[in-house]
């Protein structure tokens, strides 16, 4: 039987819960029974205090299980407390819509909590209802919050429309964030994005600033596209771009 993200998180967090195993089990039971939201706030607040902030220890088999449970979900780089927080949120039985609970958590969260909340995005119910919340996270000036959504997270690939997707890629470049950890970077490439990226490269060249090689990953599939090819030809003719970069 395939494990669900929730059962996987439960297994991983329990394995690293040490002498707090009973506390964790008890808390999860309380959360599953529902009740006042204060229970959830307290669990989220105590997660790093009780469980520490070590990296989640994952084997290759665990990573494969994550992929099987939710395609594109890459929990590597998560911490124990972060994983526990997402587990707690998935476990809590609420009378309110998930997005309403999420919003209140997000706007009172500390840095570690906000990163954890956004890393859990692909695992939450009613993904469409979370679009505004995702937008708030992407607009954040907190680079690790932006990256919690953009990196190793299939939510953008699976749920975002083209406009939002393109602007996420552009912002990643703008805040010096890597593109390669973005799930679906090649699959979601599109001619409009290629055009924006070439414009951006031209701006960088004009300012005498370097252009990251990663920028060309989503451009390459459209190198021969009738609207894109002439732009690339100009940059190549002016000596700014080499053919090798595009191949």
């Amino acid at each position: 039987m395939t494990e669900t993200p929730k059962t996987l998180l439960h297994r991983w967090v329990s394995a690293q819960s040490g002498d707090q195993a009973d506390w964790l089990a008890e808390q999860l039971e309380t959360l599953a029974a529902g009740g006042p939201e204060r229970t959830l706030y307290i669990f989220l607040g105590f997660a790093p205090r009780k469980l520490g902030k070590a990296d989640l220890f994952l084997t290759e088999a665990d990573k494969a299980a994550a992929e099987a449970a939710h395609p594109g979900w890459r929990p590597e780089g998560w911490s124990v407390d972060g994983a526990a927080r997402v587990l707690g949120l998935l476990t809590y039985k609420s009378d309110r819509a998930f997005v309403d609970v999420f919003k209140d958590l997000r706007r009172t969260s500390d840095l570690g909590e906000m990163i954890a909340l956004y890393r859990g995005l692909p695992l939450y119910p009613d993904p469409e209802s979370l679009f505004f919340e995702v937008g708030e996270g992407l607009r954040s000036n907190l680079k690790p919050v932006f990256e919690a959504i953009a990196h190793n997270n299939p939510f953008p690939r699976d749920r975002m429309d083209e406009h939002r997707w393109n602007h996420m890629i552009l912002k990643a470049l703008f805040v010096d964030s890597q593109l390669s950890p973005i799930v679906g970077l090649k699959d979601r490439a599109n001619p409009e994005l290629a055009r924006i990226l070439i414009d951006y490269a031209n701006e960088r060249w004009a300012a005498g600033r370097p252009v990251t090689e990663e920028l060309w990953i989503p451009v390459r599939p459209f190198a021969d596209h009738p609207e894109i090819a002439p732009l690339l030809a100009t940059a190549t003719a002016e000596g700014r771009l080499t053919k090798e970069v595009l191949s």
């Binding site: 607040g45 990296d55 911490s79 972060g82 706007r107 500390d110 840095l111 570690g112 000036n141």
Partner: protein, 306 residues
Amino acid sequence: MFIDPHAHMISRTTDDYEAMAAAGVVALIEPAFWVGQPRTFVGTYVDYLSTIVGWERFRAGQFGIRHYCTVGLNSKEANNEELAEGVMEWLPRFALKEGVVAIGEIGYDEQTPLEDKYFRLQLELSKELNLPVMVHTPHRDKKRGTSRSMDVCEEMGVDPSMVIIDHNNEETVAETLQRGYWAGFSIYPSTKMGNARMVEILKQYGSERIIVDSACDWGISDPLGVAKTAELALKSGISEETVRRVCYQNALDAYGQSGQMKEEDWLTPPAIDQRTVYEGNSILRGGRDPLISVPGEERKANLIIE
């Protein structure tokens, strides 16, 4: 290594962070305070608290400084009852956030009944959550206000070892120490303490439970208050051990009682923090000798903007 246990970085620039890091400040505490004008909506106060537990912490980390904060309803805004009631409802949500090392700064300004009410309610909260308390002592009618703050802490059953009485001066220090509280001194030009006066206090009272801070904020103040006081004290013949205690260890011991502030945070930070929120301190990496420079000096010397 220094800790500045009272610095309102939300009001300061990146130059200040650079200067503090270069001077050897490895950690600081940002107490929730009055931002220079009253807030008139509960929501702006909530967003302020969210800023100091999140955004400001991240900003400090980019300069290699570990950022902690205290949360509380300050004495001035306690006089707006509608706002105060709203803030009190939200406060418990913030008190258990990561890096929150105390309830504060709370206490008296004009010593009104409303200030008294919310001071007591917040002392109750600190007891419930087992958090230290940072007490702001009033500028006006200071001596009496300071005594009264301690009276109320005791009436409420708060252990003096959990309370930092801040903004002490020559007139208040003896009683603060004698009653068993931590005594904070804010090296803040004109209104609070000067550092030459501070050195005299160290000569007279030694290092036990004395804590030096800058209280730098939106006014004319100096984010290098702690580093400059340390240097002046050493030059004046105060021992290195005394300086280490009043400019580093005592703050760590007092606020460390929250369980939220540990030396490992800056000496051996967890991997997740190094990937996300903390760039590491160049002084700790053995990069440079501590340097006291005027904020902005480096900037003026460098004409080219890239």
